[in-house]
């Protein structure tokens, strides 16, 4: 189970995002730089969240409250990142392949989202992934027949894409002042995070399945919004 589990889980969790990274982001200098800085932003938000967690000694094990401020901080830094990119956009556009393209912003948003997502995936899963190299196996509490590593890998993969689409939706929302989109991002972020509580639930049978299915549904809904936005952009141009 050791090496096989390790590679299976690693490729499940990071395979799709790495493929996108090497296929789309890595060839573009400005997108790589954007991704690194957005990863940095996400990291700051998480460090702040962990600092709060560290100080809030009483509620350290109450996940419902932990999620509240963690998600809020992430959204706050998403907004900061938007402000930063907004300022740098003219510079980024100068370097872009098609400086006038209206789709540049979507590309930036996607790369920034990938930075969030990849960093999220690495930070929250790499410890488990390394543990999966060991001889033992941890089973998922709500679905005792599946290993915890694999469930986490699937969730991480979904969350990575979640971050991408959230970033794209919220960028559209910020620039168009469309509060509905911002609200949607925040709500789905909370929804996705709270759904993962089901993973460790011992009372809900097959909780991990509900959690993953729910996240997939949210991801599909968000993706539809993104596609609609991009299509709007396209129609506006032509």
């Amino acid at each position: 189970m050791t090496l096989l589990t390790f590679f299976g889980c690693a490729l499940t969790a990071y395979g799709p995002s790495l493929a996108i990274f090497f296929g789309y982001i890595a060839p573009n200098a400005q997108l790589v730089i954007l991704m690194v800085s957005s990863a940095f932003f996400w990291l700051i938000s998480l460090l702040l969240a962990s600092a709060i967690w560290f100080l809030a000694t009483n509620s350290r094990n109450t996940f419902t409250s932990t999620i509240i401020y963690t998600v809020l901080l992430q959204e706050l830094f998403r907004w900061c990142l938007y402000l930063l990119i907004n300022r740098a956009e003219s510079g980024l556009n100068m370097v872009a392949k098609h400086p006038k393209s209206k789709f540049n912003r979507s590309g930036y948003a996607f790369s920034a989202g990938m930075g969030f997502g990849l960093m999220f995936g690495i930070i929250s899963y790499i410890t488990q992934l390394v543990e999966s190299l060991g001889p033992g196996v941890l089973m998922c509490p709500s679905c005792p027949s599946i290993s915890l590593y694999f469930i986490s890998a699937i969730t991480v993969c979904i969350f990575t894409f979640h971050h991408c689409v959230w970033m794209m939706i919220s960028f559209t929302g910020f620039s168009n002042r469309s509060y509905l989109r911002i609200l949607w991002v925040i709500i789905t972020h909370y929804g996705a995070s709270y759904l993962t509580i089901l993973n460790s639930s011992r009372t809900v049978n097959l909780g991990c399945a509900y959690s993953i299915l729910g996240n997939v549904v949210l991801l599909i809904a968000s993706t539809i919004i993104v596609v609609a936005d991009v299509r709007n952009l396209y129609h506006k141009i032509s």
Partner: protein, 680 residues
């Protein structure tokens, strides 16, 4: 030349040459490319110099030229990416636009490649037309700031003025006269670092043109730095990954971990108190830093006195020791952890080959990729050997290094700064010295020959360069730098790349080169167990080289009046300055081929992350992102200040901050969330 209308030409299926012939008189046989032809045809016609009659005729329907082309719609608008892109650049016919506005806005980006293409076309044309008649004038575009290059030959004089006047009326028309200037400008922009042997004529520019030119420069700068960051991230990430790998392997139960240097006076024990640790590690780090400072000063003195060979010999010894000794330790680790059965004879044979190949490729010659591999491996080996330091000592050392880096690079009397300045003062000498110092110079020679050629025929050379440089401005820049720097190792490498014609490669090579130089620096570091100071020396050398590179750039700068105005020359100077310095640790320099990051920087980034890797994976990743972000920020500042900056402070501060924050807050936080599978 290029002025010919694309649509027409394309529809006729011919070369621009037809038009050119018809065109009234080509004033300049040599005239370079005309930038942009499409839209402005009408204006162009008016200009005396302006394109021939052919253009005018074509001009009647400027807009539609592109439409005729059968090529079709498969190519999107270059500027906005939109699809019906019915117009194409009449000069080069290689890009399409949906509207004149797009073309105009894209011109500042497109003009370089346009010039290259046009230059190629021009040659053909000239051949066809025979000498005299050929040159068309570029027509002008209203917006084209850069405008067509004027004749370089100098015929342009009268005509140029007239055209200028016209142009001033409407901006577009002005091109030709401007064009000449533009040609110069462009040339400068493309290969800022190159130094023509013959001084160029100074173009007269209108304020608008200057502004436009400056903007083009700004964009080129942006692109340049962007690409440099991109090129530099790769080796840094690889070096970091290797260091992590060595640490993880050696921690997997090996008996051969690197040990603490015998210079340290204090040994941490689990029972010692915090204050004992702080004072003891401060003493340890102080000793190491003092060594670095002394060595740096010695190097500076040697350099100022011109004892380059001593330095080189020293570096060679250091490199050999690093590769041999640290390679041996690493090999022992690998053998033990992976349980490889290996006898001593085989191992010593392999090790000998490894070290000898490294020496040859670093100091004499070898394939670019091999040099880069060796530099990266050497940096990671250095970092690995430094992981033997106790934890407190490591952090204290990094903190002190940040301070030293700041002092050495930024203070008025900082050794590195002095070094840079002295190299500048001795412009001519230093480069030569550096040149010899870099065993690498060999590679450089082909590029030099190219330069010479270019110098001989400035115009042709320009064209040639453009062609070779390929598409990206950055390439051109790097090549230019490299050439200018010439002697520097970096320049050398870039030159090699340019000879290959691969622009991108050249940039990469340049970074690689810089590395090589830095690698030399590294070598000293490697000795470092014994001599940390050595590192600084090496860095210095590197810096010196860099400087030398820049100096050529300058020489070139003065030649071009325009450039100086525009600032590329400045930049080159800055870069040269950057060639910098941070002594042991250091920084980025961009000179010759581009930004240079001292090997010392590589090493200490890796040391920080290797130290984090000894703790935890999450910490490692956090520190990596922090260090990379710090590096990006440094390069960003570099682009702003255009002078040598210490590369360590921002990255190391971020890295240390993130290390402790992660270690004490994030890791326990994740330890609670992880097993419960809560994802946030």
């Amino acid at each position: 030349m290029s002025s010919t209308d694309t649509a027409k030409t394309s529809s006729s299926g011919g070369h621009p040459s037809n038009d050119a012939q018809s065109s009234s008189t080509a004033r300049q046989p040599d005239s370079e490319a005309s930038p942009f032809a499409d839209t402005t045809v009408g204006n162009a016609a008016n200009e005396p110099i302006a394109a021939g009659a052919a253009n005018i005729t074509a001009g009647g329907s400027p807009g539609q030229q592109g439409a005729d082309d059968s090529d079709g719609d498969d190519q999107p608008c270059q500027a906005c990416g939109v699809f019906p892109a019915r117009f194409q650049c009449s000069a080069c016919q290689s890009v399409r636009y949906c509207s004149q506005e797009c073309q105009a806005s894209d011109w500042r980006i497109h003009y370089r490649e346009c010039a290259e293409i046009v230059a190629a076309m021009k040659e053909e044309q000239e051949q066809e037309n025979g000498d005299g008649t050929a040159a068309a004038v570029g027509q002008s575009q209203p917006r084209s700031r850069t405008s067509v290059p004027r004749l370089q030959q100098g015929q342009s004089g009268d005509a140029g003025h007239e055209s200028l006047q016209d142009g001033q009326n409407d901006r577009p028309a002005s091109d030709d006269p401007l064009g000449a200037e533009a040609a110069n400008v462009r040339a400068t922009a493309n290969r800022p670092r190159r130094r023509p042997r013959e001084p160029r004529r100074r173009p007269r520019l209108t304020a608008e043109q200057i502004a436009a030119f400056e903007e083009a420069e700004r964009i080129a700068d942006m692109k340049f730095y962007m690409l440099q960051v991109y090129k530099i991230i790769k080796p840094v990430v690889i070096c970091i990954c290797l260091s992590i790998l060595w640490v993880k392997i050696s921690m997997a139960g090996s008996d051969y971990r690197p040990t603490q240097s015998s210079y340290t006076v204090y040994t941490e024990t689990p029972t010692s108190t915090v204050s004992q640790n702080i004072l003891g590690s401060l003493a340890n780090a102080g000793i190491i830093i003092a060594q670095i400072v002394i060595v740096t000063i010695i190097i500076v003195v040697l350099f100022k006195r011109g004892h380059i060979k001593v330095l080189i010999g020293f570096f060679m010894v250091v490199v050999a020791m690093l590769l041999g000794f640290m390679g041996y330790i690493l090999l022992l680790n690998l053998i033990q952890v992976l349980r490889i059965p290996l006898d001593y004879v085989t191992m010593s044979f392999a090790l000998w080959n490894f070290a000898a190949t490294g020496l040859v490729s670093v100091f004499w010659k070898g394939p670019m990729w091999l040099q880069q591999v060796y530099l990266t491996v050497m940096s990671s080996l250095m970092a690995f050997s430094l992981t033997g330091l106790a934890e407190w000592t490591t952090w204290m050392l990094l903190a002190l290094l940040v301070v030293w880096d700041l002092i050495a690079v930024l203070c008025p009397f900082g050794p590195l700064k002095i070094l840079v300045e002295s190299s500048r003062n001795q412009n001519q000498e230093v480069p030569a010295l550096l040149y010899t110092v870099n065993a690498v110079w060999f590679m450089a020679s082909p590029p030099n020959s190219i330069l010479d050629r270019e110098a001989d025929k400035a115009n042709e050379a320009i064209e040639f360069e453009n062609l070779t440089s390929g598409q990206s401005n950055s390439h051109a820049f790097t090549q230019g730098h490299a050439r200018a720097t010439g002697r520097d190792g970096g320049s050398i490498s870039s030159a090699g790349a340019s000879s290959r014609n691969s622009g991108l490669d050249s940039t990469f090579a340049a970074s690689g080169i810089s590395r090589t130089s830095s690698s030399m620096a590294l070598v000293p570091n490697s000795n470092r167990d014994d001599f940390t100071p050595i590192e600084s020396r090496e860095n210095i050398e590197l810096r010196e080289r860099q400087r030398s590179g820049p100096s050529p750039g300058r020489s070139y700068g003065p030649e071009d009046g325009n450039r100086q105005q525009s600032g590329p020359p400045r930049r080159s100077e800055d870069r040269e300055e950057r060639g910098e310095d941070p002594t042991g640790d250091d920084d980025d320099d961009d000179d010759g081929g581009g930004l240079k990051l001292g090997l010392g920087d590589f090493v200490f980034y890796s040391v920080l992350i290797a130290r984090a890797a000894m703790f935890d994976w999450v910490t490692t990743m956090c520190c990596t992102v922090a260090v990379l972000t710090g590096m990006n920020a440094t390069i960003f500042l570099l682009a702003i200040y255009q002078k040598a900056l210490p590369a360590l402070p921002i990255s190391i501060c971020f890295g240390m901050l993130f290390y402790f924050a992660t270690r004490f807050a994030l890791v326990p936080f994740l330890a609670v969330l992880g097993p419960s599978q809560i994802f946030i």
